[in-house]
């Protein structure tokens, strides 16, 4: 019938143009941030501002100095700062990736379990929520003592202990999103499944899980960055010096002499967080590409 052709949907606008304008936007935003920082710095120093903090070369190094520091040697005979930091970032990334994986799988399992039964949900959800009020620094000593003692039959190396700590931050958003997502199913879609005499597993796999996926990815994006934070924080109670956490502690000590080094470290840490985030966004695009309205 002729009417069919009329209703053909418009092609979606994708491609070079959109990517290009995004790149321009990014540059504009970065430029503005740079201008704000340097502008505030110049005004602060000129007028001797002491509020909200004393503005000087130590509290606010030049941005170009931060980037310049990356290509200098903090110790005369040592490697370039960027080499040290990239090695540290790789190490932290390893911890964070394992923590992210463990936390996501664990969070999904918890969410799926709670979604399965209202009673479990009522019984356990409060504790899942409460777990997040215990700061990671408070559970770190326990994790270290439980899992890294070489005399224990089951023990792990220090970096895996950090991953366990990171997973503690990552499981929660995933658990909550899984729970919500698995319950977000339209009741008529369930009735439809029932009309096909589908069993519980089929409904879970063919309907509830796909419905939950967009929720899951939103949570994974949060978890991806949280896993970096968790790994960085987890490195100090586990006395790991080779990661970004170690680098931050180290450069914090020498802040008054070389503030730009700590700032440079922060830049690398932020870049790592963004990289993790983008990996999840990429995975989301890949998995949900057929339903773009679901992609945040």
């Amino acid at each position: 019938m002729a009417s069919v052709a009329v209703e053909r949907p418009a092609e979606r606008g994708v491609g070079v143009k959109r990517v290009g304008s995004r790149g321009v936007l990014l540059l504009v935003v970065l430029g503005v941030l740079w201008g704000v920082w340097e502008g505030f710095r110049a005004i602060g120093i000129h007028y001797g501002l002491t509020r909200p903090f004393t503005v000087d070369a130590t509290s606010m190094p030049h941005i170009h100095d931060m980037f310049k520091a990356l290509f200098e040697r903090p110790n005369a005979e040592g490697p370039l700062l960027i080499v040290t930091l990239l090695e540290a970032a790789a190490f932290t990334a390893k911890e964070a990736a394992l923590g992210f994986a463990m936390g996501s799988v664990g969070g999904f399992a918890i969410g799926a379990l709670l979604a399965h039964s209202r009673m479990l949900q009522r019984g356990f959800l409060p504790y899942v929520v409460a777990s997040q009020t215990v700061p990671i620094l408070a559970i770190a000593p326990m994790v270290v003592i439980w899992f890294t003692n070489p005399n224990s039959t089951f023990h792990v190396t220090a970096w895996v202990a950090v991953a366990i700590l990171a997973s503690y931050l990552t499981f929660f958003p995933v658990a909550i999103a899984t729970l919500r997502g698995l319950q977000a199913t339209d009741h008529r879609a369930v009735e439809l499944m029932r009309s096909y005499a589908a069993n519980r597993w089929t409904v879970l796999w063919k309907l509830r899980f796909p419905t939950a996926l967009p929720y899951l990815f939103s949570a994974l994006k949060i978890s991806a960055t949280a896993s970096i934070v968790g790994a960085i924080i987890g490195e100090s109670p586990t006395s790991i010096a080779g990661g970004l956490g170690g680098a931050i502690l180290n450069f914090a000590q020498f802040y008054s002499f070389q503030p730009q080094n700590l700032w440079a470290t922060n830049i690398v840490a932020a870049a790592l967080g963004i990289a993790f985030f983008l990996v999840v966004v990429g995975a989301e695009r890949l998995v949900l590409r057929h339903a773009p309205e679901n992609v945040a």
Binding site: V4, E7, R188, S195, P210, A291
Partner: protein, 257 residues
């Protein structure tokens, strides 16, 4: 043997709403039966009872001579709701194939049947589209194709065209008749449009509200096949009037369009 046999069915929901009271109805092979009545008179409830999506409080329902439960498990009916209820993450073809997948059809058989179904609802060429790329009317055609894909003896439709504009609705009505004739299935069709009921049905079941009962059954003797001209026949208007009066006697104030 009747396709649907309803005997003394009542349904009282928790909280005391009597949605259905003493419903008796037999539907024969090849019939197109419309349920019409004011909002809340239990049309959807009756359809769900037939489909074993809810259980009646009293009475018995058999479908194809079996209990409603057995019929559901045997995939004896396909259902279409007011909204298409398509799975957004599946293509049109995969939406249509869903019941076949669940019934364990092989990939080749599925593919062949999906093509056949998309031809039937005139959506060939949209197999790889996603639901959100289609108009409301097209989505509903996909949902009809899905319901018919496993060749059920019975098609249950709950106001399937209620959300469409009048023009699209009339076109869909004509298409549904064509599909019904081609597939030789039995249809139970819920609507609150008098014109739609008269145009489509071989029999119209008029229901009244509080409690939900059958107030009148009107056989529709318009000649088959029906087309645009049918809507202009004097008999069409006579029947529409008869349905309207039956709805009035049912005691509700608002007259559906």
């Amino acid at each position: 043997m009747s396709v649907v046999e309803i005997q003394g069915v009542s349904k009282e929901f928790k909280g005391g709403t009597v949605a259905l009271q003493d419903i008796d109805l037999q539907i024969e092979q090849g019939e197109f039966v419309s349920l019409i009545g004011p909002s809340g008179c239990g049309k959807s409830t009756l359809l769900r009872v037939i489909g074993d999506l809810i259980e009646p409080s009293r009475g018995a329902v058999t479908v194809n001579g079996k209990s409603a439960r057995q019929a559901r498990q045997d995939h004896d009916y396909g259902i279409v709701f007011q909204d298409a209820v398509l799975y957004n993450w599946r293509t049109v073809a995969k939406n249509v194939a869903l019941p076949l997948e669940l019934a364990g059809w092989s990939r080749e058989r599925r593919q062949a049947r999906v093509e056949e179904m998309l031809d039937l609802v005139e959506l060939r060429g949209f197999a790889d589209h996603h639901p959100w790329q289609l108009s409301g009317g097209m989505q509903q055609r996909v949902s009809i194709a899905r319901a018919l894909s496993f060749d059920p003896a019975l098609l249950l439709m709950d106001e399937p065209f209620g959300a469409l504009d009048e023009m699209t609705r009339e076109r869909m009505n004509a298409e549904l008749l064509r599909i019904w004739e081609a597939s030789k299935s039995t249809v139970v069709f819920v609507t609150h449009s008098i014109a739609e009921a008269v145009f489509l049905s071989t029999r119209i079941v008029v229901m009244s509200v509080r409690p939900g009962r059958i107030s009148k059954v009107i056989p529709v003797d318009l000649a088959q096949p029906r087309g645009t001209a049918t809507r202009e026949e004097p008999r069409f208007f006579e029947l529409a009037t008869e349905v309207r009066e039956a709805l009035h006697l049912g005691g509700h104030v608002e007259v559906p369009a």
